[in-house]
Symmetry: C2
Subunit: 297 residues, 2 copies
DNA sequence: AGCAAAGATAAGCACATGGTTATGTTATGA
DNA sequence: TCATAACATAACCATGTGCTTATCTTTGCT
């Protein structure tokens, strides 16, 4: 650009003349009087040093240079306006999206059922669920919220209590029917889940805490809670059921309590946000989860 | 465009920040203080409702939306500025071009030799020569000037006298050498030029006006003065030479006067322009022709 | 020639703009 | 932690802008 560009008002006024076909029509279109347009076009011509209108004709029509400039204005300003609109749209899209990280088990048995209800209530929200092996996912780049199981004393964000956990033995109804209400840990197979989480309750922890005893035979070990749950549902054995995960299954009858005592761990589930006040969608999603933490989805 | 575009100043200020890499550098580039740029970018963000700079980094860098907008500004405003520059250049080119209409004879023998001199003097001028059969070409579309032969009382433009005409018999030197200084019209072949122009002098006109007599034999008739002139140069006969056309040839010796009286017609050559004041190139070309109408080129 | 539509020009006025200076705030690197 | 560079904010002021109304000029048609 060798010379300063003329003011935008002059450019758009001239483009309106070219498009509308006369100065009067352009003035009407822009809601000003005819002299305003006449002077604007004159100022533009003086600014760039080229005749843009052939005023010997009535209505006045653009010169060849005027035609070329009107086209360039339309395309050039359209490019800018189009980009602004596109970025506004992208931001609107982005504002309605929440990315939440949690474990596979929480995602499968706790969060997904609740998402169904959320989408019925607020269909414009969009929740990306990022599952991680850990029960305490980090607030990594691109993660808006994390659902964590643990002590709750994290410093990397705003922590809100979601719900306490309860652990108790569960199994398939047909397996319990073979024991007359209380399943015997002496004879029934136990389903183990191996986890790297230090807060994870194992069968050993449970037996120690309750004083019960069991015989280690036919033990099945899973590295994934979903698979262990599936084996329990199919009647392969008794597993330690966490209410957050198996709650829905016991509510539907796919699993039943084994008639044995439960444990309430000190650890609980928390919702961790990057800061106390996030985007609009994040606040709406947080509000939904906190108003409906446990129980039926 | 759904919303009014932001002022150009805000757009160019932001584009300068994106390009220069910091607000300080952009301010220096635009010769203003840093707060002016800071406020301009803020106003732009408020105007379009999008964050354009990530101010958490130092120096501040454009957001994704900011990058897209900076690119669009560069391309969109570049499109407009490029068109303005191109049209300015085209006009400059157009301003340096003159289209002049004249007869083939005038073009060949009078104008072209003068154009050589003009281009040596003013090499930036460009003269388009449009030849027509008529000695009084019209000021048609795209014609800036017309060189006409006639009475000069035309109403369709600004008429300026170029030079008077003189008509006298001319022939090749070797033909005149056969007659001892005065060529006899009784025996020498006459070269006729047929023209639709009423002001055109024929051999009949000449004989009547001078009282001389001739014998009509070996008459050669041409519809083109250039061909007749060529025949004369080759010694085929005597022709009525118009100074405007044959002047250069007699000066160079290719043709000589036949030793007979000349005639000065009332008609003359005029330069006709569309209006008294034309473009810059037209005025320069007109000035050149009027300062050097006759004689050697 | 007369008339109406279209455009040009001049002058006036409310208000907006586009900086500036002074100062406060924040990120970054040692 | 401290110093510095980079950016933000507030207030002020000169001037420019963007219209408007009134009136004149020019084109095009009957």
């Amino acid at each position: 650009m060798n010379h300063p560009l003329p003011p935008l008002r002059l450019l758009t006024a001239f483009a309106a003349v070219a498009r509308a076909g006369s100065l009067q029509a352009a003035a009407a279109e822009l809601n000003v009087t005819q002299p305003a347009i006449s002077q604007a076009v004159r100022q533009l011509e003086d600014h760039i040093g080229l005749p843009l209108l052939d005023r010997g004709r009535r209505p006045a029509r653009p010169t060849e240079a005027g035609e070329a400039l009107a086209t360039a204005i339309h395309e050039g300003l359209g490019r800018i306006a189009g980009t602004i609109d596109a970025q506004r749209l992208a931001r609107t899209r982005h504002d309605a999206t929440v990315t939440v990280a949690c474990s596979v088990g929480v995602a499968t048995y706790w969060l997904m059922p609740r998402l169904s209800a959320l989408y019925r209530e607020q269909p414009d929200l969009l929740v990306n669920v990022m599952t991680v092996p850990s029960g305490a996912p980090a607030l990594a780049e691109g993660i808006d919220l994390a659902i964590r199981y643990g002590h709750g004393r994290w410093k990397d964000g705003h922590v809100q209590h979601l719900f306490d956990e309860e652990v108790m033995p569960v199994c398939a109804p047909k397996l319990r029917a073979r024991y007359d209400a209380v399943v015997s840990l002496q004879s029934a197979p136990l389903l183990h889940v191996r986890s790297a989480e230090p807060s994870w309750l194992t069968w050993s922890d449970y037996l120690l805490a309750t004083g019960l005893s069991a015989v280690r035979h036919e033990a099945r070990v899973f590295t994934n809670y979903v698979q262990a749950t599936q084996a329990a549902v199919e009647g392969h054995g008794v597993m330690l059921g966490w209410r957050s995960i198996t709650g829905a299954l016991t509510a539907s009858g796919a699993l039943v309590t084994a008639g044995l005592p439960g444990l309430a761990p000190r650890d609980a589930f928390f919702l961790v946000a990057r800061s106390k006040r996030g985007g609009h969608a994040i606040e709406r999603f947080t509000r939904f989860l906190l108003s409906n933490p446990a129980g039926k989805p």
